[in-house]
């Protein structure tokens, strides 16, 4: 839940017919260039939103823009979707927006399960989100070799140096504020391991986290884990951690086969 969603609910509250209007055909999801530009934490978010929309069976097309970050309505957060006159960014607001359009993944979920699902989603955002930022921007090797060149790749000379530096400074300030910056890489890997262990135990041998149907949580977990597993970074710290849990790897494979193979045909 966030402000954007709140605002949308407010604007839609008065006119129900707008809210129930079917999904328009020209929905666009904006993100940075996937091959050359996008950074690890951003890609995880983009993939989570894409997966969620696929799970809802909604049509959209992905537009890649070098300045997707500056276009975002919520201050440098990708991805964002354009649905008619609305711009909605980030995972939770998109979920809320899609719900107001009448598409639900978790309509008949009991309250206890819903609260558990939200708790796991917070855990992913809190632990995985911060860990990815830490690895991508605060680990000197990865920041200098991978993240900063990629982040600055679309800008000419002085900017491709200044903008990544400014971004790194912002991320450092943020992680310092929530006490992640003082952790060592080992501690961060340990946090990721704890998080994966919790997910693995929750998933057990089931197909999805809550029974036979996908939920928002499945989309979010897939977005983050798939990104970590498939992104090759020097050191390979997180990839090794995630691969310790075979049922999570199978889960990623399953979701990929189910929702992404069809889309690419």
């Amino acid at each position: 839940m966030s402000l954007t969603e709140y605002a949308i609910q407010a604007t839609l509250g008065g006119k129900k017919e707008t809210a129930n209007e079917p999904w328009p055909d020209d929905v666009i999801l904006y993100q940075q260039y996937q091959v050359e530009q996008i950074t690890l934490p951003d890609y995880a978010q983009c993939l989570a939103v894409e997966t969620f929309l696929h799970m809802c069976g909604l049509k959209f097309r992905v537009e890649q823009r070098t300045n997707a970050e500056e276009m975002s309505p919520s201050g440098r957060k990708v991805p964002f979707i354009q649905v008619g006159p609305y711009l909605v960014s980030e995972f939770e607001p998109v979920v809320g927006f899609v719900n107001t359009k009448g598409f639900y993944l978790t309509k008949d979920m009991p309250d206890t399960e819903r609260s558990e699902m939200r708790a796991y989603m917070s855990m992913i955002e809190n632990i995985m989100g911060n860990a990815e930022l830490y690895l991508a921007w605060l680990n000197t090797d990865i920041a200098n070799e991978v993240t900063k060149p990629r982040y600055g790749c679309s800008y000419p000379w002085p900017l491709n140096w200044i903008l990544p530096w400014r971004k790194q400074r912002d991320i450092r300030a943020k992680l310092k504020a929530n006490e992640w910056a003082v952790k060592s890489l080992e501690e961060v890997c340990e946090e990721v391991k704890i998080c994966c262990q919790a997910l693995s135990e929750r998933l057990e041998k089931k197909q999805f986290f809550f029974g036979d149907h996908p939920t928002e949580l499945d989309a979010l977990v897939f977005g983050h884990l798939y990104t970590i597993v498939t992104t090759i970074l020097p050191g390979g710290h997180f990839t090794a951690v995630v691969q310790e849990f075979p049922n999570l790897a199978q889960f990623c494979k399953r979701i990929e086969d189910k929702y992404f193979k069809l889309g690419f045909d």
């Binding site: 839940m1 609260s115 917070s122 300030a173 929530n178």
Partner: protein
């Protein structure tokens, strides 16, 4: 089993609570749940802690100051109360603790440190009193700054105003309370009849909010509507911390007795005296300063006629009687005296 007793330093308590800090409360509750033999030291001096904050658990030469570290350490020493949980439930504990940190903590930080009314009325006086003198001048501001940075950097941004950030974090916090309330249902504790580390965390975060004397706060009233959460906090408080409740009752009684004995007159009687003293002190100070200025020649009153006064005379120190004279013949008297002196 521990050869050496562990020492746990926490912030002091108030309002019938063993400590006012959420993290300290969580650790205290965890220790009580699993009957860890610790010496609890209630302190107000953050310089005693290596990290500048409490709780700190000391055992031998090592000190642990983060809640998760303390829990991990205690678990390693086999002082756990989560052993009855299934693996799935342990996973839930991690998830819900993350949710508390992500959704509820920003609102609490905002409430205690950034909400002007609460900060001025409760937080700042409390910490100023709890922390010893020279530190109390800057530690509260330091903590406020840290809380502010944390809330604004993690939840705010350039694209939204502070007021929007505020409404966003309170909305998230209320939703978090609802989710906790669903999770608890009508069970005694989060996972049945035995308390777990999640109960300790929830207790830590919610009890100060429940017990603090806040006036008409939306988050507090929202919590009061979640009756099962209030019940959880109160039952933990009565079962595991009976001493603090007794202390609170005694303190209240004492205060009431004092009020009855003095009949509320002390404040009234003290007030005009204080103002009179202030005025007298001010007058005394001004008189002394002016007197000194005259005596040492910093101020000179000299009146001279325009035609007779010359620049050389004007800079001569005036004799004492000249200062108080206000007559027209000032300068002639002066001239006369000087001539006499020269003669």
């Amino acid at each position: 089993m521990a050869t050496e007793k562990m020492k746990l330093e926490v912030w002091k308590g108030d309002w019938g609570l063993p400590s006012v800090d959420p993290h300290c409360l969580a650790v205290l509750a965890y220790c009580k749940f699993s009957q860890v033999p610790v010496d609890v030291i209630k302190s107000g001096n953050p310089w005693r802690s290596p990290s500048g904050n409490f709780p700190v658990l000391r055992h031998g030469n090592s000190a642990y100051s983060r809640v998760t570290d303390i829990f991990t350490f205690l678990r390693k020493e086999h002082w756990g109360n989560d052993s009855h949980l299934t693996t799935k439930e342990s996973a839930d504990v991690i998830a819900f603790c993350a949710m508390l940190e992500e959704k509820l903590l920003p609102a609490l930080l905002h409430l205690w440190w950034m909400d002007d009314k609460t900060y001025v009325d409760i937080t700042r006086p409390w910490y100023a009193k709890a922390i010893p003198f020279p530190l109390s001048l800057f530690v509260p501001q330091q903590r406020q700054k840290r809380a502010e940075v944390r809330v604004l950097l993690t939840k705010g941004g350039d694209h939204i105003t502070d007021a929007e950030t505020e409404s966003k974090i309170y909305k998230e916090a209320k939703e978090c309370l609802n989710l906790l309330s669903y999770k608890l249902g009508d069970k005694e504790f989060m996972f049945g009849r035995k308390p777990s580390s999640l109960d300790a965390m929830v207790f830590g975060y919610l009890t100060p909010l429940l017990k603090a004397p806040l006036s008409s706060n939306t988050l507090q009233s929202h919590l009061q509507q979640c009756t099962n959460l209030c019940q959880l906090c109160n039952s933990i408080l009565t079962t595991y911390f009976p001493v603090e409740l007794k202390e609170l009752a005694e303190k209240r009684k004492q205060e009431e007795d004092e009020r009855k004995a003095q009949g509320g007159r002390t404040d009234m009687a003290e007030f005009p005296n204080r103002r009179r003293n202030m005025i007298l002190a001010g007058l005394f100070a001004i008189t002394a300063m002016v007197g000194y200025a005259f005596a040492s020649g910093l101020i000179q009153v000299q009146i001279s006629d325009s035609e007779t006064g010359s620049s050389a005379k004007r800079f001569l120190p005036a004799p004492p009687q000249a200062v108080h004279r206000t007559g027209y013949d000032q300068s002639t008297v002066l001239d006369g005296q000087q001539q006499e002196g020269e003669d």
